[in-house]
């Protein structure tokens, strides 16, 4: 699904070097590496937000769910249907699914609240549902567990397990039990040159 070869990304004074790899379809790949290793950078390259050198092949549509949830000033429900709206899909066909996912992540009672006023964890849940609702081929989850409590992490694990046959997940997370529970493949990030 995603294949990288001789991939390098230059920042102002840094250069990240990524080992060659193939991210396989319908496998949950966990990206590991220390703070500042370039995990977010790699996901942002996959989302085509960043320029790179080398070869990157992606034959699927990719959605990036950022580390700090970016929420629009409207209800949680309206946030979730945004990708359906811009794709001109019939929202009513997705209603049951939205309720199902919201119930699973325990935010069903918040769907009509303004999402900007939710807590960080709740915002993250809204943004995750928004990222998966339109069935993209690949979903990139950047530290989705940061603001979540233990129970919520379990609920998210259930959701991902439920969807992994349809959606390929590439996940950055430092939460050991979450990772161990989901991981099919691991990809380590860490190569970095300081440019002078």
């Amino acid at each position: 699904m995603i294949e990288i070869r001789d991939l390098k990304v230059k920042m102002k004074s840094l250069e990240f070097i990524f080992e060659d790899f193939r991210f396989e379809k319908n496998k949950v790949t966990v990206i590991s590496g220390r703070n500042g290793a370039g995990k977010t950078t790699l996901l942002r390259v996959f989302a085509s937000f960043l320029d790179y050198e080398g070869s990157l092949k992606i034959n699927a549509n990719v959605t990036y769910n950022s580390q700090e949830p970016v929420i629009f000033n409207r209800t949680a429900y309206c946030n979730i249907v945004y990708p359906l709206k811009v794709r001109k899909l019939d929202i009513s066909l997705y209603h049951d699914k939205i309720i199902e996912y919201a119930k699973l992540l325990d935010i069903e009672h918040l769907l009509e609240n303004n999402a900007l006023k939710l807590s960080s964890g709740e915002k993250m849940k809204v943004s995750i549902i928004r990222s998966i609702i339109f069935n993209p081929d690949i979903v990139l989850l950047d530290e989705p567990t940061t603001h979540l409590d233990l129970e919520s992490i379990n609920e998210l694990t259930q959701l991902i397990k439920k969807l992994k046959s349809k959606i390929t997940f590439i996940i950055v997370s430092h939460n050991k039990s979450f990772v161990d529970d989901l991981k099919d493949v691991e990809y380590k990030v860490g190569g970095k040159n300081v440019l002078s």
């Binding site: 549509n61 990036y64 970016v70 000033n73 945004y82 811009v86 928004r130 339109f134």
Partner: protein
Amino acid sequence: MILESIIEAFKLLISFDPEIYSIIFLSLAISILATLTAAVIGTFLGILISISDFKLKRFTKKIVFTLMGIPPVVLGLVVLLLITGPFDGMNLLFTKSAMYIAQTLLVLPIIIGNIIITSEKTQKQILETATTLGASKIDKIFLLIIETKPFIFMSIILGFSRALSEVGAVMLVGGNIKGDTRVMTTYIALNNSMGEYSMSIAMGFILLSIAFLLHTLLARFRGDFYD
């Protein structure tokens, strides 16, 4: 002496002198029209500049930021040269239209610049998120206008403050003609130069009250956003 002037000023205000009220009205009318014009053009240009990637982007931004601080009198001079030079045939010198044009040009960079500065980070995150969720360019422009509404309002109010409070541009292109192109600030400047402080204080008081109202409004928009 100061106290006397202040008392005199309040007497003037409640005297309902038609000249004073027509001056206030003209000030507000010109500044509001100029700000609205600049708001429509400026919001569009500001958002366009921030979401587009083009060669001279940095340079364009620098020009806009420089123009944000242009002394009104210099801008007035430029407009004056234009309307007495290439656009001489339009008979704009010392007219309300010339004042409107000058103020629009004065406010435009303030609105564009503020929209660019204040919402750059928000814009970037919103744009990336919208892109990754499948939004088209038009979708993104609409989303940005909606999501950065508080910034846009703030920029517009800042622009209006500047239009209402400047003297230089309206003085130069309007000429401060009594009963025609005289506005609050040029009125203050004139009365002061004639030693009529109470008139100035009265007008100054009104300007301050309007500024106070505007900034109360501004605080509300800020509050809405940062809540």
